[in-house]
């Protein structure tokens, strides 16, 4: 079942092409967009969140066309969105802010709306700070507030832009757990430039670079692309696209190995670096 269907989407801002003929499908589970800063991930997520319309191409979300006003409203009723730079009315308490977003989500009856606000606050572990003003919260807690508002109304499609950015390792693990739970039974599309997050969470990934989808498939398929192309050596190899000194003093080289190189199993990060280092190659797995 395909919840998100993007076909040949192109979006430009002045002379900048943010999306260039991107095609993407996403169904239940977590789909990850991986790519460097400025790659076009945010623009693609904004298109999926119905916040931006592509200049060209077709988008279908939950079987509806977001270009049609009535369909767009129906989509938004079943959509949760956490933008990259989610802003807050900092004078609001956590409860007040989430309640405000719940009003925008057309939850007009006060009692059930407050019940729903309490539900997402409990789900994201914010109960202890529910009455605190958002300006008094840490960055990680604010990110949780952002996730909580996205979960209002138990949406079928959850769009999360860099949900783990700026979080410390422990907070990132907690966030992964929450996103993983959110992905059970619904479609989550998230972006990250952290390959660990993508490896841990996503069944499907798309690597976006310079507005184009360089790869779509599973993390295992992307990792497999680096088979036989990662090796260790006592020095940085001139054949490597990228190499770095590891904790044990040897160099991890990624690229085209020389003869008799000591090959090691690749990681998703290796494959991602290879893909970024070879922008001409585009691979799409079905």
């Amino acid at each position: 079942m395909t919840t998100v269907r993007v076909r040949n989407a192109t979006k430009t801002f002045g002379r900048t092409t943010a999306l260039d003929d991107v095609t993407l499908d996403a169904g239940p589970g977590v789909t990850g967009l991986l790519g460097p800063n400025g790659a076009g991930k945010t623009t693609l997520l904004r298109v999926i969140a119905t916040v931006l319309a592509p200049d060209r191409g077709a988008v279908t979300l939950m079987g509806r066309d977001p270009a049609r006003p009535s369909d767009r409203t129906r989509i938004r009723e079943r959509l949760g969105y956490l933008p990259q730079d989610a802003g807050f009315h900092r004078g609001f308490t956590v409860f007040e802010f989430i309640d405000y977003v719940a009003i925008l989500k057309e939850m007009t009856d006060r009692r059930p709306r407050h019940d729903e606000v309490r539900r997402v606050i409990a789900l994201t572990g914010l109960a202890a700070v529910s009455a605190k003003r958002i300006r008094a919260l840490s960055g990680g807690m604010r990110r949780r507030v952002g996730l909580a508002q996205a979960l209002l109304g138990d949406p079928d499609l959850l769009v999360l832009d860099e949900p783990t950015v700026g979080l410390d390792p422990e907070q990132r693990l907690r966030f992964r757990e929450m996103i993983s739970q959110a992905g059970e039974g619904r479609t989550v599309v998230m972006s990250s430039h952290q390959t660990e997050d993508i490896t841990a969470l996503c069944a499907t990934i798309a690597v976006i670079h310079q507005g184009r989808a360089r790869f779509t498939g599973t993390p295992a398929e992307l990792t497999a692309r680096a088979d036989g192309r990662v090796w260790t050596d006592e020095r940085r190899s001139p054949a490597a696209i990228t190499a770095w000194r590891t904790g044990d003093g040897t160099y991890r080289n990624v690229g085209d190995p020389p003869a008799r190189a000591e090959l090691i199993p690749p990681t998703l990060e290796d494959a991602y670096l290879l893909l970024m280092g070879e922008p001409g190659r585009e691979v799409t797995h079905s």
Partner: protein, 273 residues
């Protein structure tokens, strides 16, 4: 652990909610420390009633406190949700309103010092409310704009709620500044219909443009129309009786245009996205 327990009849009456408040308070004090009586009463209380009471308590404890303006709006008949949306309008905050009041006070003061600046006040006056409408949807001022854009709340309704709220607050500020103008009462009110006309025109453009751009287009057109008249000292060209009829027509036309294109109104991200 206590040595005594509540009378079974008292427990039944308490569970039904039919004991007087004094006895209820004393029963509750005992129940706090007596697991045995709590167990007994647990079996007697209707789960639906317990659920309803719990909801009532939870709602009173953590429900958002209404701000002063929200309470006033609810008293005036606005819905609780609408009052909250108005209260979150960024250009209804103190610093913004102070800035608008400051600019207008300066313009009014200049007009008092030299009545050639009277026209400057009339040119500036409609821009205050208009800028407030634009600012209500500007990304830099509305921190939750992008979250709001992905919600099903009607763009038209939000546009109208915020526009009315901004006009309701800024128009009296402009009117107060107008009272400080020298000469006849006419300059103090001559900005009203132009303000209505410019707002109507901006609203009509929101089916195609973002509110910020729509206001920018209208404000630029306004300056192009009024600046030459101001330089030439011909207030009547922009603010005379004939011009007032034109502004009234623009306001009505804008309203009509908004009504016709109401289904196409959708608050959008600007190019900065």
């Amino acid at each position: 652990m206590t040595a005594w327990h509540l009378d079974p009849e008292a427990i039944r009456r308490y569970a039904r909610g039919s004991v007087p408040p004094g006895l209820a308070a004393s029963a509750e004090a005992h129940l706090m420390g007596c697991a045995t009586c709590r167990e007994v009463i647990g079996a007697l209380v209707d789960p639906r009633r317990a659920e309803a009471i719990w909801h009532e308590v939870a709602d009173r404890v953590d429900a958002p406190r209404r701000s002063g303006p929200e309470r006033m709006l609810v008293r005036l008949g606005a819905g609780e949700a609408t009052a909250r949306l108005v209260a979150a309008t960024p250009t209804l905050r103190g610093p913004w309103l102070l800035a608008v009041a400051g600019v207008l006070a300066l313009a009014a003061w200049a007009a008092q010092v030299d009545d050639r600046f009277l026209l400057m006040f009339l040119v500036v006056a409609p821009l205050g409310p208009l800028a407030g409408v634009a600012g209500a949807f500007a990304g830099g001022l509305d921190p939750t704009r992008e979250i709001g854009l992905a919600t099903p709340y009607s763009g038209l309704r939000l546009l109208l709620i915020r526009t009315v709220a901004v006009l309701a607050v800024t128009t009296p500020i402009v009117a107060l500044a107008g009272l400080a103008l020298p000469g006849s009462w006419w300059p103090a009110v001559a900005w009203l219909l132009p303000t209505a006309g410019l707002t109507g025109a901006a609203l009509a453009l929101t089916s195609r443009l973002t509110p910020v751009v729509a206001v920018g287009v209208v404000a630029t057109a306004w300056l192009l129309v009024t600046a030459p008249a101001a330089v030439a000292g011909r207030a009547d060209l922009a603010f005379g009786p004939g011009a007032q009829v034109v502004w009234l027509a623009v306001a009505l036309g804008g309203g009509l245009g908004l009504a016709v294109t109401r289904n196409a109104v959708s608050i959008k991200l600007g190019r900065s996205a």
